[in-house]
Symmetry: C2
Amino acid sequence: MERTELATLYREYIACLNRQDWASLDRYVAGDVEHNGRQLGVAGYQAMLENDFETIPDLRFNIQLLVVDPLTEPTNDAPCLASRLAFDCHPKATFLGLAIDGKRVLFAENVFYTFRDGKIAHVWSVIDKSAIEAQL
Amino acid sequence: MERTELATLYREYIACLNRQDWASLDRYVAGDVEHNGRQLGVAGYQAMLENDFETIPDLRFNIQLLVVDPLTEPTNDAPCLASRLAFDCHPKATFLGLAIDGKRVLFAENVFYTFRDGKIAHVWSVIDKSAIEAQL
């Protein structure tokens, strides 16, 4: 897969999330997708995202930095992409174990994806919890 | 800069950190380096790292996943690299506001770097605090 093609695919995936278009999710996500080491499959992945939008009604994914690598080191030969996502939102109650209660919070998620056959196979995500705590 | 050259440069930087070779740090880090939006400069960056090794005597940086992109989207035209670093260590007292007290913890850092003139200019780092909390 070419670099530009992979970047475009990822932008389409993010647009799919932002319009909560769950019927299209399996165009971008592999049937046996894993998230932080847990095999969720498409249904479990969708459930996780639906829960995110339930917790954060004004959730919106914004790509701040995109690093695209058709090759990946050191051991993985799958295409790989890393994205820094920026969030500016109002979680309505508890988020990451923190009582937000509708307060506005700004934070980032640094997330890695590996692809197989043009779909997301593995996701390694870290959310900046310390940044949220500093705003409470 | 070529992809392989950038990856090699980054591996050398990580080796420099692991041997705490502060005299060589400015080969890899720009004079006005910023970390999570704060301009530290090389001296401030070194002080941050020295403090990390003071807090975590057995600190070792292990590259788990490396994504290398000589081009960067959407707005930045600098070479960019993203790394998932794995840690297996024993912080001796408090780390990220958590009382670790010498317990073994495993966690990841998902970190982005932009380069200028072959040196790290900006670092955007997120440490998986939730993963550490789950081990306490």
